[in-house]
């Protein structure tokens, strides 16, 4: 298990995760920034981390491979609140780095994890996706836990529910890690990472319609989960 700071530097949150300065990929994560950063070098600027991925880099910098770590944590985005968006939410991130870690290992690990979370009958399927810090990248769907895949309102009749993002760690990310730990040589090691939104899964599992319910402290809501 690992954790990291909620206030991060631009370097850990973006640059070392292969979001170069000025890159459009940064637009996908609207960021809350600490005041008074304009004069500082870009990499040192402080912000509210937009994902738990910076802990990947902090972990790799602090130890040579192998790494097998799960990272829960609070993250923030400069998003207007609505039923499914909250400026505050939580993610759980995973990172596995070693010699001979493959895409099929990523598939097997997540398939196993989803079965452990949602029952052994659950199936997974993987779609190509894009994240700056993984390549190849994938979105993972699980067979609908409500209808078993037949199609229902919750899965919009598709029989599948999109649950997490993942991929093989991008060699560029290893190159950043290797600045402090040269053993992260992408020619010798490989790895996978995955991440998911905690509230999203809880909303689906418990039938919660407003993400804001998690942050209101309403006794009538909390009392249902005793």
């Amino acid at each position: 298990m690992g954790v990291g700071p909620e206030v991060e530097t631009d370097y850990y949150n973006f640059e070392s995760m292969n979001f170069p300065p000025g890159h459009p990929a940064r637009d996908t994560q609207d960021t809350l920034v600490v005041a008074g950063q304009e004069r500082r070098p870009q990499r040192d600027r402080l912000l509210m981390r937009t994902h738990t991925s910076p802990v990947q880099m902090r972990t790799m910098e602090s130890q040579p491979p192998p790494v097998r770590i799960v990272i829960p944590g609070k993250v923030h985005r400069n998003d207007a609140a609505d039923a499914t968006h909250s400026p505050i939410f939580h993610q759980v991130e995973g990172l596995c780095v070693d010699t001979n870690i493959t895409f099929s290992d990523l598939k097997g690990t997540l398939d196993h994890a989803m079965k452990a979370l949602f029952g052994s009958a659950v199936k997974t399927r993987f779609f190509p996706s894009f994240f700056p810090f993984t390549e190849p990248s994938a979105d993972v769907q699980i067979s609908c836990i409500f209808c078993g895949g037949k199609g229902c309102r919750k899965c919009k009749n598709s029989g599948w529910i999109e649950l997490l993002g993942c991929g093989m760690v991008d060699p560029a990310v290893f190159a950043f890690a290797a600045e402090k730990q040269p053993t992260y040589d992408p020619k010798k090691i490989s790895g996978f990472a995955f991440g998911m939104g905690v509230e999203r899964i809880a909303m689906m599992k418990y039938g919660i319609s407003e993400i804001g319910s998690f942050f209101a402290g309403d006794m009538r809501f909390l009392g249902q989960f005793v």
Partner: protein, 718 residues
């Protein structure tokens, strides 16, 4: 983005699947079709697409068609638009790229004698009216429709100028300080010296790759046209667009990388649509190129790709044969890559005893198509192989696992705190990470160290919370304002302090309670939650840790030591092993009034970073004595300023092994006592592990207790 299958099939008449299957096959390859809508007889389907930002090349009909060819092993016919022979011109139109870092190519074609009006369908299989009708794309005029057609059809932004508004020729350059241009949206813009612009010899005409200018736009009166198709640098376009708060189709594409080689084809496409209504071409296409940019877009150095690396990263497939050389070659060729097989590591093959071993050692030099700027490295090509091969054709394997689980540093302590409070009837909540500057000033344990945000969500969320009390209070108030009268909450979270240069994060615990205990019911009497209920909860939490001393103290209001959010007389400090571990008590009546809270609110905060320094308490069992315990009571009179804590410590300080338990049994005040005094009944139990206590021993113990409490100011009541 919307895609018509009718348009796709115009490019690929041999598509072997129906629209539904095509949608699924594309989606499984990462060209996600989010919705399929039947457009009725003969019109095919409309796809609602969701394509990831790295694949701008596929955000148009020709790009999606290219993906389909890779899936089904088809061949995509090249885009080719036949133009009439140009009329010769003595002096070609002048184009100069001054900003060679930001504009890699600028093509200009002069059309004269055109008629601006409704566009006509101009070649079979590609009908503006039909496609635009199905896409619900408004037809405006042949000039606008032509650029829209090139955009929707092949993803290349183009621009058309009224040639007669251009003075001299085109210069692509950075703006000069103070220059202005009115853009097509009618906004008069002051230009920044970093803005990349299209100018003529006298004035700026528009924002390069973002938006054209008002003064040179096509009007119904336009007779002569200049068609622009260019390549602009992603960062330069992004900066210009951002500075002016613009996000256009053109800027979207250029920011993510346009196709260097598409300019000429797009220019021909736009020109042919315009010329369908009459007119002629004057002179050859003017094509200004910057070789340095061409070298890093259209003519990149080929990438080496090894089959062994493909397999090392991707692993096991369900199909026993796995990823073969033929798979790699098939996928990459269909996507437009050029593959030259290297010497196949011939020496390696020779060294291998068996020729079989040479298999799997294929090495290719892969040249990347100009429209795929995202293909730069070996891993990018491996991803393409995995993507088109199909992610779900890989097996589910598990990596070897050799170690046990290492939990977080504070996991055990945090879970113990959580468990204790849940057992005490509190619910766990998560409050806002932010609070107002005023709340921070009132509630921060150390003043002046609150960290402000640069772009807060609101003024009430302007700073990083230095204390969890603000959030707790907000949640309690929220409940009360919704008429939920019994509230018991706690939050485990991070508090922040420091400067905008360095922010310190620490774990903290807040808790709050309002209402009755237990909740109102028919079979039991309920009473209001009061100070000692919360104190009990705090004692339980702190009691989970292995400390030497725990005490609660308070200060006179005048001392100024009690936090200002707490009631001056109903507050206590928690001191663990001599460290301040937190504060709790009743909310200050002024703060309560400001928030319109009529009920007394009990709340507090513990600094968990301090508690977490202590290990969790590990109970060690003690033999239970077989011998008779003896209880002795001491009736004490004390000054009001002497708290139980003092008596407790004095008794503990005796360290009499046979003194096994003591407590305050009663407190009372009556007229017989002096002013400012109170009476306390101290009950003590003596017991030895190995013998029955003798009377002399007991008397000695009693005397020592009386002496010890006497030293802190207690006297025996006569």
């Amino acid at each position: 983005m919307k895609i018509l299958t009718k348009w796709l099939r115009a490019y690929l008449p041999d598509l072997p699947v129906d629209d539904a299957q095509l949608a699924e096959d594309l989606t499984l390859r990462g060209i996600a079709v989010e919705g399929v809508y039947d457009l009725g007889d003969g019109s095919g389907s409309l796809y609602e697409m969701d394509i990831t930002t790295n694949r701008v090349d596929a955000m148009n009909h020709y790009g999606v068609a290219r993906e389909a060819t890779a899936i089904y092993g088809l061949t995509l016919p090249p885009l080719d638009f036949k133009l009439p022979q140009p009329k010769p011109v003595a002096k070609p139109f002048s184009v100069r790229i001054e900003a060679e870092d930001a504009c890699g190519r600028f093509t200009a074609r002069v059309l004269r004698g055109v008629t601006i009006g409704p566009s006509r369908d101009w070649f079979a299989g590609a009908e503006v009216a039909t496609y635009f009708g199905l896409l619900e794309q408004k037809q405006i005029s042949n000039a606008v429709d032509a650029t829209n057609f090139a955009w929707i059809g092949m993803g290349q932004p183009t621009h058309v100028f009224d040639l007669d508004k251009i003075e001299g020729g085109i210069i692509v350059r950075r703006a000069r300080k103070g220059e202005r241009v009115k853009t097509l949206d009618g906004v008069e813009r002051v230009l920044d010296p970093e803005d990349l612009i299209i100018a003529d010899h006298a004035k700026p005409l528009g924002l390069a790759g973002v938006m054209g200018g008002w003064d040179s736009m096509i009007t119904p009166e336009t007779k002569n046209v200049l068609v622009e198709a260019a390549w602009f640098d992603p960062v330069a376009v992004r900066r210009t667009a951002r500075r002016h708060g613009l996000h256009t189709d053109a800027s979207h594409r250029f920011e993510r990388g346009a196709d260097y080689n598409a300019a000429e084809v797009a220019s021909a496409l736009v020109s042919s649509i315009l010329l369908a209504n009459g007119g002629w071409i004057e002179g050859d296409l003017v094509d200004a190129r910057v070789p340095a940019i061409e070298a890093r877009t259209a003519n990149r150095k080929p990438v080496e790709l090894k089959l062994s690396e493909v397999r090392r990263i991707l692993g096991t497939t369900i199909d026993a044969e796995g990823i073969t050389a033929a798979t790699v070659e098939g996928v990459l060729t269909a996507l437009g890559c050029g593959l030259a097989e290297l010497a196949k590591k011939a020496e390696l093959a020779k060294k291998a005893e068996l020729a079989e071993l040479a298999k799997g050692n294929e090495v290719w030099l892969v040249s990347q198509p100009s429209w795929r700027l995202d293909l730069e490295r070996e891993i990018d090509l491996i991803e393409e192989v995995a993507r088109v091969y199909g992610y779900n054709r890989f097996a589910n394997t598990l990596p070897a696992f050799g170690e046990g689980v290492r939990a977080l540093l504070w996991a055990a302590q945090e879970s113990e705190v959580r468990r204790t409070l849940l057992a005490a009837g509190f619910h766990e909540a998560i409050g806002s990470t932010f609070c107002s500057a005023a709340e921070a000033a009132l509630m921060a344990p150390q003043p002046g160290l609150a960290v402000p945000l640069g772009n807060p969500l609101s003024e009430e969320a302007g700073v990083l919370r230095p204390s969890l009390v603000a959030g707790m209070l907000a949640m309690i108030a929220g409940n009360l304002h919704r008429d939920v009268s019994d509230v018991r909450l706690f939050e485990l979270g991070t508090v922040f302090s420091g400067t905008t240069e360095k922010v310190d994060e620490r774990p903290a615990l807040s808790f709050g309670a309002v209402g009755t205990l237990p909740e109102q019911g028919a079979l039991h009497a309920a009473r209001a939650i009061e100070f000692h209920d919360v104190k009990g909860a705090v004692e339980q939490v702190v009691g989970r840790f292995q400390s030497r001393t725990v005490l609660f103290d308070r200060f006179l209001a005048e001392a100024g030591l009690t936090p200002e959010w707490l009631h001056p007389y109903r507050a206590a400090r928690v001191v663990v092993d001599g460290m301040t571990a937190g504060w709790f008590g009743q909310l200050h009546p002024r703060v309560a009034a400001e928030r319109k809270l009529k009920e007394p609110v009990l709340l507090g905060e513990l600094y968990l970073d301090r508690l977490y320094k202590l290990p969790l308490r590990q109970p060690i069992a003690r033999e239970i004595s077989r011998f008779q315990p003896v209880r002795r009571d001491f009736s004490l009179v004390l000054d009001e300023s002497i708290a139980w804590e003092k008596i407790d410590q004095a008794v503990a300080g005796l360290r009499i092994p046979e003194l096994v338990e003591w407590r305050a049994r009663e407190v009372f005040r009556d007229a017989k006592l002096g002013a400012g005094e109170y009476a306390l009944l101290l009950g003590a139990t003596f017991q030895a592990a190995d013998r029955t206590l003798r009377e002399e021993e007991l008397q000695e113990f009693q005397a020592r207790v009386v002496e010890a409490v006497g030293k802190v100011g207690a006297r025996l009541r006569s």
